[in-house]
């Protein structure tokens, strides 16, 4: 029964979306207040209906209703509760429903918390949001119905892909979608602004919290996915430049650029046309990711079961959304008035550099991701583009970006003083030189990239702290006064500092773990000792143990260092019967200083096991850095200026010591 309720609720949500997409837009054009006012209740109603539908599907999973085709194909009665729930979005149909749920959630949030928006803009934003909703609702109802029945119902289901039966992956998609779909709000704001033909600092201030939230969620989602790959795929790697990873990374790059360019619109009323374009591009890349994952156009380990009709549908939808918005952009953008003037060396100039590098990086990732398709379509040749291309193009773009992050926030708006900024960074420069010297001495003839990485970490880390200390006038005024300044500093400044330090932490993790990692692969028998850097791993043996819905081969290593016990690692290989598949569960001991990582593989038939053992110093800092970036986003979100519903304050003068202190 619940499946039918879910289906009806979806159809009703579609009807509401049609109303929400049309009447408020017309009302805004004609100044009809009543029609505009329809948007808010419609957005809330649409969310409620989709929530009912989502609850219905979840219920079918919870009670293992195998008369629902989707449940039968993707669930199994013996599955633990968590994976019955996460199974809802562990498949194409259900994940789309989750996508729509979040889309309408954001729509409802704009309706409920957007009281400070002018009614016309609010109506238009919600109408555009509903247009996107129509597209996805039609997609689900016409090509990917999660509520299709199966008669006769099977006795048990096929089970969820065991790789996905993992707590990290259970929450990875919701975070990722909060990011992807959060960008839809920015997109709707951009399109609404183009329709109105007016973009001003107030607009940027309204958009920024949504961009920040989407960006922070996307950061979390990508980091979770990368951490999952790290411990579940068992190769010790954490980023593979797989098309699906790239599909989530491109919107992140665009959103990061957008986050920064929106500051310029907000503070200086400049870069408007570019910012609008970024908002459109960021969401377009989210949609492109959806297309790539679900159409089977590219080879990927992550691809959903693909279906050509779905591909055609999404492509048509992309054509309407992206083509439509870019056409609108081409018509309206030239009429936007350019804003304030500024010298190349200025805060604006720094943010433009940031945008240039980020969007170039985004373009290179896009090119590499789609290149196999281009070549196949033009010449019929099949190639795959892998890490050598991406590392070769992406890293050279990130190096100047990270280096500039330390300088940018120290430049004043309009006309900055580069020499002054560099002067304040003297301490950072000295420390950087010392660190590089030290690293050189440690590494002897190590890779140059490692030295560069160390240099960037110290430069940015110290630079960000110096910049923060400068805002407090630390040491130049009394400690009490500095404290007062710290208390009064906008939250956005704390957010920025935290996020920039996060970048430094991440570069640190990447550099050190890639450079100083020790890897040992060999066959071990019980009692064997293996030296991994300065640790000694003793293989105690392996045994077969039953899990809730799998059989597990568990190996045991005791790890010592200089004779002192360090830890016990128990890597597993799980064999799932439904569907038949093996997964590796790496055993990882994480500390701030680094990870010890053990994987056990197949027995060799003679009492030995193939194992991989790693010592990966500081690798955890990669995710610690991501976490700091995400937290930076959320801290910035609590800034008074963004607090939803807070009365908009008069703009602070741009050149004061504190004021305009760039978020």
């Amino acid at each position: 029964m619940s499946a039918e309720i879910g289906q009806f609720a979806l159809v009703l949500a579609l009807c509401v979306a049609v109303v929400q997409a049309t009447l408020p837009q017309i009302g805004a054009a004609r100044g009809n207040v009543a029609w505009m006012a329809l948007a808010k209740p419609a957005a809330v109603m649409q969310f409620a209906l989709v929530a009912i539908s989502f609850a219905a599907l979840t219920e079918a999973y919870l009670v293992s209703d195998f008369s629902v085709l989707n449940v039968a194909q993707n669930s199994h009665s013996a599955k633990p509760l968590l994976y019955k729930i996460s199974g809802v979005w562990g498949n194409h149909e259900g994940s789309l429903l989750l996508w729509i749920l979040i889309l309408t959630l954001f729509g409802a949030a704009v309706a409920l918390f957007g009281d400070n928006l002018p009614p016309g803009l609010s109506a238009r934003v919600l109408a555009v949001q509903a247009l996107i909703g129509i597209g996805f609702l039609l997609f689900v109802l016409l090509t990917s119905n999660p509520f299709a029945r199966l008669d006769p119902a099977p006795l048990d289901g096929n089970g969820l892909n065991p790789l996905l039966q993992d707590p990290g992956l259970a929450i990875h998609p919701p975070f990722l979608y909060l990011g992807y779909v959060g960008l839809s709000v920015t997109f709707s704001f951009a399109v609404a602004a183009l329709i109105e033909g007016r973009i001003d600092p107030a607009w940027a201030r309204w958009v920024r919290p949504w961009t920040l939230a989407a960006w922070a969620f996307l950061t979390a989602g990508i980091a979770l996915g990368s951490y999952w790959a790290y411990y579940e795929l068992g190769w010790g790697g954490w980023w593979f430049w797989d098309p699906v990873e790239n599909a989530s990374f491109m919107p992140w790059l665009a959103a990061t650029a957008l986050l920064h360019s929106a500051i310029v619109v907000e503070k200086r009323d400049a870069l408007k046309s570019w910012t609008i374009l970024l908002a459109i591009v960021a969401f377009s890349l989210s949609l492109l990711g959806t297309f790539l994952v679900r159409s089977g156009v590219l080879n990927s380990v992550h691809a959903f079961a693909t279906d050509p009709t779905r591909g055609v549908f999404i492509l048509g939808f992309l054509l309407l959304v992206i083509g439509g918005s870019l056409t609108l952009y081409a018509v309206r953008a030239p009429a936007l008035k350019p804003g304030g003037l500024f010298a190349p060396i200025s805060r604006e100039g720094g943010l433009i550099l940031n945008n240039l590098l980020l969007s170039t990086a985004c373009a290179t990732v896009l090119l590499g991701t789609l290149y196999p398709l281009f070549l196949d379509a033009l010449t019929g040749q099949k190639v795959s583009v892998g890490p050598p291309y991406f590392n070769g193009t992406f890293i050279p773009l990130m190096v100047p970006l990270v280096a500039a992050v330390a300088i940018g926030p120290m430049l004043a708006w309009k006309r900055g003083d580069l020499a002054g900024a560099l002067g304040r960074l003297k301490a950072a420069a000295v420390l950087t030189a010392i660190a590089v010297g030290l690293a050189w001495w440690l590494l002897a003839d190590g890779p140059i990239l490692a030295l560069l990485g160390v240099a960037l970490v110290v430069w940015l880390g110290v630079g960000a702290l110096v910049e923060f200390a400068g805002r407090l006038k630390l040491g130049r005024i009394s400690a009490a006064d500095s404290w007062r300044r710290a208390v009064n500093l906008p939250r956005a400044v704390y957010g920025m500092t935290l996020a920039h330090l996060g970048v430094a932490a991440m570069v640190l993790g990447i550099t050190v773990s890639e450079t100083w990692q020790t890897e040992v692969q060999q066959i071990v028998r019980p009692g064997d000792r293996v030296a991994v850097s300065d640790y000694e791993f003793t293989f105690e043996g392996a045994e077969n143990l039953p899990g809730p819905n799998y059989m597990s081969l568990v190996g045991t290593f005791t790890v010592t260092r200089g004779g002192e016990p360090v830890t016990v690692l128990q890597p597993e290989t799980r064999s799932y019967p439904n569907p038949p598949m093996q997964t590796t569960e790496a055993a990882i001991r994480t500390t701030l200083g680094g990870d010890l990582y053990a994987v056990i593989g197949e027995p060799d038939g003679n009492g030995g096991y193939a194992v991989r053992l790693y010592d990966k110093p500081l690798v955890g800092w990669i995710w610690l850095g991501s976490l700091m970036m995400m937290l930076g986003g959320f801290v910035s979100l609590t800034d008074r200026r963004h607090r939803v519903g807070a009365p908009a304050r008069a703009r602070v003068p741009a050149d004061g010591a504190l004021a305009g202190a760039g978020d």
């Binding site: 089977g296 591909g311 870019l326 030239p334 593989g601 197949e602 038939g605």
Partner: protein, 193 residues
């Protein structure tokens, strides 16, 4: 970008035209990508192996891996059903699948030849000494030329060759017990009949 664009009237017009052109660029780029995506829908990125299936194995002749006697050439693939396993000492996945082949070789189910792809002779020899050598014949494809003829694009790959030296099937990536049981063994049994 949004720098100083507004001065006098005449340049303003030129600027307006330029801005219009600039503003159309994203649309044009998106359109081109869209065309490729549309074309991509009717292409299958996974359809790589088809080129050599049901075709005779390419002409080649290779000397054996260091320390081994029997080299490998096209004629060796004729006369009996065989597997040609492309391996390399630098390939981690090869190590994963290797125990299966040593076991298969010991049971004598099928003749297995090894094509050592882009490897240093010494490394390959040491690797075989260490992990076991199930291969009847080996070919050292040091520069990867023969690999190209075979359409190898990743190691490991495993080709099934019938009595007439025709390639019947190709497995990309490591052979798992599942693939062996469900796909390779039935196919070999059928070819041998």
């Amino acid at each position: 970008m949004a720098q100083s664009d507004n001065t006098a009237d005449a340049p303003a017009k030129v600027n307006a035209a330029r801005r219009l052109v600039l503003a159309t660029v994203p649309l044009a780029v998106a359109a081109v990508i869209g065309l490729f995506l549309y074309r991509g829908l009717s292409l299958d990125p996974g359809q790589i192996p088809s080129a050599l299936i049901n075709k005779p194995a390419p002409d080649f002749s290779l000397s054996a891996v260091q320390g081994r006697e029997l080299g490998l050439d096209t004629e060796d693939l004729k006369g009996e059903v065989s597997l040609v396993n492309v391996f390399a000492s630098w390939c981690v996945a090869c190590r994963a699948e290797h125990p299966l082949f040593t076991e298969l070789g010991r049971q004598g189910v099928v003749t297995i030849h090894g094509l050592n792809y882009k490897d240093r002779p010494k490394d390959a020899a040491e690797w075989l000494d260490r992990y076991g050598d199930p291969y009847t014949r080996t070919g050292a494809d040091v520069d990867g030329r023969v690999g190209i003829e075979f359409g190898v694009y990743g190691v490991p790959e495993t080709f099934v060759v019938d009595k007439n030296g025709v390639i019947v099937e190709k497995i990309i990536g490591p052979v798992t017990p599942h693939i062996l049981k469900e796909k390779l063994l039935p196919l070999i049994a059928e070819l041998k009949r």
